[in-house]
Symmetry: C2
Subunit: 393 residues, 2 copies
């Protein structure tokens, strides 16, 4: 087991009616002016935004609003948000939405507090020393940004997608009412399920020895998400399934499943970020559903025992003691079959990505041919192209 640090300071308010308490809870932080940041209008249409604004009004908290955050949130809107925060003296940001809105809020908080350009922050040119407090009213179970230390922002001009991890960027509070997620579409629910699983698996497939406790917690998460995911796709109004997915989204990405493991590398995310940087229409979860099984197939032979373990414990594959590699591959097949059962694509052609696109995406992933951090083996451009070919069927 590797040395580690852990803390999960985000105050989670979870369950039916959680969103009613927003104003009362935020009042404890005594904000002068709150930026309420949201996405494309579904928060407004559903009435959630009005509910939240009303709650702030009742608590006597001043606020300004900025909507328009898109999936794969863009640096341009962050710049707009920073300008608004400076003009209005905003000292607290409330994200009403999913991972994209929360990430846009976190980046706005950092850029405002450190008086820097958001892309300089995302590329590491500026090292943040402070931030504004950010809270989240979560509307979709997926990204886990509500408890994580990370944020991902896209710059379409380059194009590039960059992520940073800073302990400081954890939300101070997260309001999670699973009922809000009952209206999330089947496709977006499926994307969320894959994203949650990937946040767990990216920390799980690392080759580190002696991490039984962390591994078993990860397997508990994967199994619960697998079961609840199947129910939520079949019966979208099922509260218990929605609640399980929502809580799992936070636990999968708050660091718990990485304790005692070597520093995270998140190769699946690196591969997917290349795809959605080029094809903005590709949802993060859908891209992961295609590319992660292909990566696993590529490196599975370096850790057959570990892939057998998941096949048996998570995917319900019987162990073939004479041919462990068959068990490992059967586990990968079972995972792909599960993804298909929840309506996810599992091949590049389904994303309308063709061999002619591979070079361009691989160049972005490898930043022009460099080696990408990964577990087990270094991943360069040749390996990326090999993985793409494994994702063709």
């Amino acid at each position: 087991m590797e040395n580690f640090t852990f803390r999960a300071p985000t105050r989670v308010i979870f369950g039916k009616g959680a969103d009613d308490d927003v104003g009362a809870v935020l009042k404890e932080y005594a904000p002068k002016n709150v930026l309420v940041h949201f996405g494309g209008g579904s928060a407004r249409r559903s009435g959630l935004l009005d509910k939240v604004l009303g709650s702030l009004d009742r608590a006597g908290i001043a606020h300004v609003e900025l909507g328009g955050v898109e999936p794969n949130p863009k640096v341009g809107l962050v710049r707009e948000a920073v300008a608004l925060c400076k003009k209005e003296g905003v000292d607290f940001i409330l994200a009403v939405g999913g991972g994209s809105v929360i990430d846009s809020s976190k980046c706005t908080a950092f850029s405002t507090a450190n008086d820097c350009d958001p892309w300089d922050l995302m590329t590491g040119k500026v090292e943040p020393v402070r931030t504004l407090p950010v809270a989240a009213v979560l509307t979709i179970a997926a990204a886990g940004s509500e408890m994580s230390d990370s944020e991902v922002i896209t710059n379409p001009d380059i194009p590039a997608k960059r992520g940073i991890n800073k302990e400081m960027s954890r939300c101070v509070a997260a309001f999670m009412d699973p009922q809000v997620t009952c209206t999330v579409s089947k496709f977006q629910t499926g994307c969320g399920i894959v994203d949650i699983m990937m946040h767990t698996m990216e920390r799980y497939y690392t080759g580190d020895p002696d991490t039984e406790l962390t591994d078993r917690l990860a397997e508990a998460l994967l199994l619960s998400v697998k079961n609840a995911g199947a129910v939520a796709i079949r019966d979208p109004e099922n509260y218990e399934a929605r609640a399980t997915l929502m809580w799992a989204s936070s636990l999968s990405h708050n660091g718990l499943t990485g304790c005692g493991k070597s520093p995270r590398k998140f190769i699946g995310h690196a591969l997917e970020h290349g795809i959605s940087a080029v094809f903005d229409r590709v949802s993060h979860g859908a891209g992961l559903a295609v590319i992660y099984p292909a990566w696993i197939k590529y490196i599975c032979r370096y850790d057959v025992r570990r892939f057998c373990q998941t096949a048996v414990r998570v995917w319900g594959v019987p162990m073939d003691f004479e041919h462990p590699e068959k068990t490992a591959f059967a586990g990968i097949d079972a995972m792909k079959a599960y993804f298909r059962s929840i309506g996810m694509p599992t091949t590049l052609p389904e994303l309308d990505i063709r061999p002619a696109d591979y070079e361009r995406i691989a160049d972005i992933i490898t930043n022009g041919g460099r080696t990408v951090f990964s577990s087990y083996i270094p991943i360069g451009k040749k390996e990326v192209l090999d993985i793409f070919r494994l994702a063709e069927e």
Copy 2:
């Protein structure tokens, strides 16, 4: 799934050499004067105390020391600590020890900050509105007080043992070097294993429906502790086993395994606190190893499916679908056999507690014959006596 709130703000610094960072980390909190609180001398003999004091000195942090915390920590020493804190202007408490030292420190922090008598605090006569920050250098994997919101203090004059739960009382930081625990005796290691398991099980056996994620996390903890516990007893110097127990002690009691369940009742602890309030020589873990299986036997018929689930998933008992109750009881027998295998008593005679003592203990547990909060059924004096009889063999 019930509504819940969750946060785990304690900054965990875990692994080999974690204790080297005490001074540097504490400096971030800018304390004026730190009370270094410890136990009966093993922290001094092992050299850990000197190491910690040296680390504070190097960081230029002023400190005073108070040792002498006993197992089942006493209110008398807390009063002494409070007087010292007031005299010396202490504004930060550093516990160097296990659950007893941390609990004594938490109670001292509350009583000093609220200027009240510690027993008034423990009996609920005084409601604390503030506290001093407390950090812990952990020396034994057991109580989980380093991340929990709870503390338990004994008043030998009554005699009584009282616990309180306050969100405010979570440690700001916890330094956990598993190497420190390699010298913990087999008996105390066994007591710790039982205590960790009980913090998980007390939240697990509640009869709440639809808590798959929390349940699977709890089972992951129980399985890992079972496996690591067996190794640590056989091979006390095994770092990986000690590390698993240490991290599990924190996760079992930081609230994670209670999310979505009804408010905790901790009947096993209530029963055991009665025993060790009368017989101070009884270690908390040993008392739990005796009384908890008896309670489970008593109430098992109210939730046979749940006890089958643990029997199968944690204790490796094959499911008898025709006779589920046999599976449930086989699980309890397997748990008792495990406790015996790690050197724990599982009967009252082994604790030298006789039928003639039952009434007196039952009176303390039930506070003179009242009903004790419990899961499944109310527990009154008659039920306590029935449970004691089940703990005779």
